[in-house]
């Protein structure tokens, strides 16, 4: 079964890093360069997991996350926040906005892979379609 993951980050190199890391036949990857496009794609395509950069132009990752959580169809999609701010307060804000996990840049691709697989598995277990 194909799973869909959305990565939203305004940095093209970082999107490439995520897509390269997660490249797998059973995974479809969607990319958005800013918050608005991320939100539009998420609503339109209902991905199984969303990776959000916190500081994006337009809507920030936190705002996108809150918007997703406020809408029933997207409320249960797990969100991973990616951030370049390494402060605890950012982590708290991310989790308060409803994020399932939090990754601080720079992160190890292996770490990202484990996190994504773990969340998708949990998602599959809790939602046996």
């Amino acid at each position: 079964m194909t799973r869909t993951v959305l990565i939203a980050d305004d940095d093209a190199s970082l999107r490439l890093l995520v897509s390269t890391t997660l490249a797998d036949d059973s995974l479809e990857l969607l990319e958005a360069p800013d918050g608005q496009q991320a939100l539009a794609l998420a609503r339109q395509r209902r991905p199984d997991l969303i990776l959000l950069d916190v500081s994006m132009p337009g809507l920030t990752g936190l705002e996108v996350c809150r918007a997703l959580k406020a809408n029933l169809p997207t409320a249960r999609v797990p969100v991973v926040m990616l951030t370049a701010q390494g402060q605890d307060s950012d982590r708290e804000r991310g989790l308060a906005a409803g994020a399932a996990a939090y990754l601080t840049k720079p992160f190890s691709p292996l770490q990202l892979l484990h996190l994504v697989e773990g969340l998708l598995k949990a998602e599959r277990l809790s939602n046996p379609e």
Binding site: D10, L17, T20, P33, D34, G58, G86, K105, P109
Partner: protein, 863 residues
């Protein structure tokens, strides 16, 4: 001279009784008439001389008077004065006689408090000058004017007849004497009362003037404060608020006056960040006023923005048109008790300081650290991430190559970021050496443009830089960097191509050239313009985010232009309308033909020899023109006159002419030995406490510097404001002596703000204890204090070891008379007149006092 007590019986004339009786009757009538007239005169209470005259006139009708004298004793002066002296009906001035040594009967009668009679001519009668027709008195009588057992004076009457004064005459004279005594007593009392009233009145006038000038002094002090001041009475209601307090709180006086302390922080206009906390903490602080509590609050709300404030925000604020802003302010509050001279609590005082700038600095520092870490983390994530993937997975060759290229690109971005950031820091702290020269703008722009023309095929680059523009004063490399950054921005932010135009002009009347770079790209919303030149500031929109860059380009442009004493600005008609960035530069030779006096050349006089300015100055010994001009800018904006010397010889020459207020010495002149030698030479002449010398060096040679007599040491690069702080604040210690807590607190506040160290003494005795412990650099002394006044403090101070040299600034509300002034002059005090007690004048007086002391050491001493 023969005397006998008056009133002794004498033989009655014999025979002719009816005639005698008639004569007696008529004399009786005369006597009674005289007494009546005297009584009337007394009742009319005229002046004493008039009264005496009236008495004489009345008596002369009843008695045979050729001599009539009234003497009044002045015991304090030891004299007997004669307000009336009649000889043969003529008034004559008579000098006073010694009350205790003169032996005339008149004087004796006063001394003995007894009536005396004589049948000889009185010794006091001025017989040699006897006018024709005036008979010599052959008998006379002296009666003391008695009051409550004391003789106030005497009355003397003389007749040309030996037998003139019998019992009747004596009785009449006695009566008159006692009436006169009463009158004199009354006159004296009246005079005493009048004198007392006069002195009371004088004292009231003086005290009123004192209070008035005290009030003026207080008012001018508190209105001149850069701090806000609010006074609360014992009921904790606002009884006074100065102008600054009103503007800091944004509350009008009508609202403030009478407002309760608790209600103050409930004013909706204040819009407190944390109202509950502030109210609780303020209420607590009011209770703990004895411990001088301090707290910080953040308020917002509408307020007028001053011209100064408008100028300091952002690179250029021509787009800011509003004079009122909704601004947040950080205030520091300090409470203190207000007491009267006797220590009784009168209320509470609140000093408000605007610490928005300081807070903003802190915030900016934090923000900078965050930004740097944020900007570095994103490219670092790619570099590390791709490297890890390449190490742990196998990729097809094409993919491998893409990943390695991405690593390379991101690593370059990191490197550019670090370079830009370091560049910026170096520029900001003046570490970046600028090599000024006369530069042709057209050449610089062309060489920069050549680099872009090749890489930007979709843009049209137009250069409108006349080659015959007058040369500018600039560092060509840095100028090129600024132009390159602006061009790079113009290309980057017009992703769909279009024209990029570089224009340069110099105006006929000015001394500056102007360069602009315009594009037809994304444009700018007006509200972001003031922030454009901030580090890492990026206009928030996704098409911009794609563009990349370090976010430091414009900040670097601004710093470079600042180092050239120019201005930067940005303009745009709005999003999608393109934008124009520009800056100004000084012409090498301004159009009016005079070469501007700038950093590296300011010290050269017309004859090639440097001249020290007449006013107090700071000497900057620095061979790097960029650093010198940066220091100059900061020191001058702190209000100091600056002279730059690039060589030690020039510095020595200047210092020989006139002692500076302080020296900033870069020891790494071309030869560090020269720098260190200069420091030693300066220190040999100027004692440590008289001349602050701040040594700067790229090496941390603090220990060496301090050992050779530096008062401060800064390792380059450093924030120029630290240099200003070390030089501007002569770290002088001021002892403030005043019996009024209010004045003490205000003065302390003013002086601390000005960077002085402050000690206070609430009275003369406290001052002496304070002085005995250690001497400050200068003392501010109130003259009128209960207990020990300022004069006494001065006198005792001058007797202390070393106390003779201590500069003293006397402030007083008292109007000083000649002897006070002489007194102060003798003690070498500087006087600050009553109306002059403003923050500015106070600082000026202290500076003058300190300077004159310095001058004692500074001038005429050969190096």
């Amino acid at each position: 001279m023969m005397t006998r007590p008056a009133g002794a019986p004498r033989a009655a004339p014999e025979g002719d009784w009816p005639a005698l009786y008639g004569a007696l009757e008529s004399r009786r009538k005369n006597e009674i008439a005289a007494l009546l007239r005297i009584g009337l005169a007394l009742a009319a209470a005229p002046d004493l001389p008039d009264l005496l005259q009236a008495v004489y006139q009345s008596l002369s009708g009843a008695l045979d008077l050729t001599w009539f004298v009234a003497g009044l004793a002045d015991e304090a002066a030891g004299q007997l004065a004669f307000p009336l002296w009649m000889e043969g009906g003529l008034s004559r001035p008579a000098p006073p006689v010694d009350l205790y040594r003169n032996n005339s009967l008149v004087t004796l009668s006063v001394r003995l408090r007894q009536p005396l009679t004589s049948v000889e001519a009185p010794s006091m009668f001025s017989s040699p000058h006897l006018a024709p027709g005036i008979a010599l008195p052959l008998a006379y009588i002296v009666l003391p004017l008695m009051s409550q057992g004391r003789a106030m004076g005497a009355l003397a009457a003389g007749s040309p007849r030996h037998t003139a004064y019998g019992d009747d005459e004596l009785r009449l004279l006695n009566l008159v004497a006692s009436m006169l005594s009463l009158a004199v007593e009354k006159a004296r009392l009246y005079e005493a009362v009048a004198r007392h009233a006069r002195s009371l009145e004088e004292r009231v006038v003086a005290r009123t003037a004192e209070l008035e000038s005290e009030k003026i002094r207080f008012e001018s002090t508190v209105q001149g404060l850069s701090e806000g001041l609010i006074l609360f009475d014992l009921q904790e209601d606002v009884s006074f608020a100065n102008e600054r307090a009103r503007s800091l709180l944004g509350l009008p006086l009508e609202t403030l006056l009478g407002l309760n302390a608790q209600a103050l922080w409930r004013q909706p206009a204040l819009a407190l960040d944390e109202p509950e906390t502030v109210r609780r903490e303020f209420a607590q602080a009011l209770q703990d006023v004895e411990s001088y509590p301090t707290l910080a609050v953040s308020v917002s709300g509408e307020r007028q923005v001053t011209g100064d404030e408008r100028r300091v925000t952002g690179g250029d604020t021509r787009h800011t048109t509003h004079d009122t802003r909704h601004t947040a302010r950080d205030l520091s509050l300090r409470l203190f008790p207000v007491r009267d001279g006797g220590g009784k609590l009168l209320g509470r005082g609140l000093i408000l300081q605007d610490i928005t700038r300081e807070r903003e600095m802190d915030r900016m520092k934090d923000e900078l650290v965050n930004m740097v870490s944020h900007e570095l983390r994103t490219p670092l994530a790619s570099v590390l991430g791709f490297a890890e993937l390449l190490l742990t997975r196998d990729f097809p060759e094409a993919k491998r190559r893409q990943l390695i290229e991405t690593i390379h690109k991101e690593a370059e971005r990191l490197s550019a970021l670090i370079n830009d950031f370091l560049d910026l820091r170096r520029l900001e702290v003046g570490r970046q050496p600028l090599a000024f020269g006369d530069v042709c703008l057209a050449e610089v722009v062309q060489s920069v443009a050549a680099g872009f023309a090749l890489t930007q095929p979709e843009h049209t680059l137009l250069l409108d830089v006349p080659p015959d523009l007058p040369p500018v004063r600039a560092d060509p490399d840095r100028l090129g960097q600024a132009v390159r950054n602006l061009l790079a921005n113009a290309f980057k932010y017009s992703p769909r191509g279009g024209r990029v135009t570089v224009t340069a002009r110099a105006y006929a009347d000015g001394d500056e050239a102007r360069l602009t770079v315009g594009d037809e790209g994304l444009g700018l919303p007006a509200e972001v313009i003031p922030r454009l030149f901030q580090r890492f500031y990026r206009v928030d929109s996704s098409d911009r985010r794609q563009i990349g860059g370090t976010g430091l380009g414009l900040a670097i442009v601004k710093e470079i232009v600042n180092a050239h004493s120019g201005r930067v600005w940005a303009e745009s008609r709005g999003p999608g309308q393109g934008s124009t960035f520009g800056f100004t530069l000084r012409l090498a030779v301004p159009r009016n033909g005079r070469r501007p006096l700038r950093g590296d050349e300011a010290s050269a006089g017309v004859d090639g020899r440097p001249t020290a300015p007449a006013e107090p100055y700071i000497l900057v010994v620095e061979d790097d023109p960029g650093a010198a001009s940066l220091f100059r800018e900061h020191l001058e904006s702190a209000g100091m006159r600056v002279v730059v010397a690039a060589q030690p010889e020039v510095a020595l020459d200047l210092v020989r002419q006139r002692a500076p207020l302080g020296v900033a010495l870069d020891v790494c002149l071309p030869d560090p030995h020269q720098g260190w030698r200069l420091l030693s030479s300066l220190r040999e002449v100027y004692p440590l406490n008289r001349l602050p010398i701040v040594v700067t060096s790229v090496l941390d040679e603090r220990d060496k510097g301090m050992a050779l007599g530096a008062t401060g040491f800064l390792t380059k690069p450093f924030d120029p404001r630290r240099l200003v702080a070390l030089l501007a604040r002569p770290a002088a210690e001021v002892l403030v002596v005043d019996d009024e807590t209010m004045i003490l607190e205000l003065t302390r506040s003013i002086l601390q703000k000005s960077g002085y160290r402050v000690r206070i003494a609430p009275g003369g005795r406290a001052a002496l204890e304070n002085l005995a412990a250690s001497l400050p650099d200068v003392m501010i002394l109130d003259l009128m204090m209960p207990g020990m006044d300022g004069f006494e403090v001065l006198e005792r101070l001058r007797a202390l070891p070393g106390g003779r040299e201590l500069p003293v600034v006397v402030v007083t509300a008292k109007m000083l008379d000649r002897s006070d002034l002489d007194h102060l002059h003798r003690y070498g005090a500087f006087l600050l007149a009553k109306g002059d007690y403003t923050a500015v004048r106070l600082r000026a007086a202290i500076e003058q006092a300190l300077r004159e002391k310095r001058a004692d050491y500074g001038e005429g001493v050969p190096l």
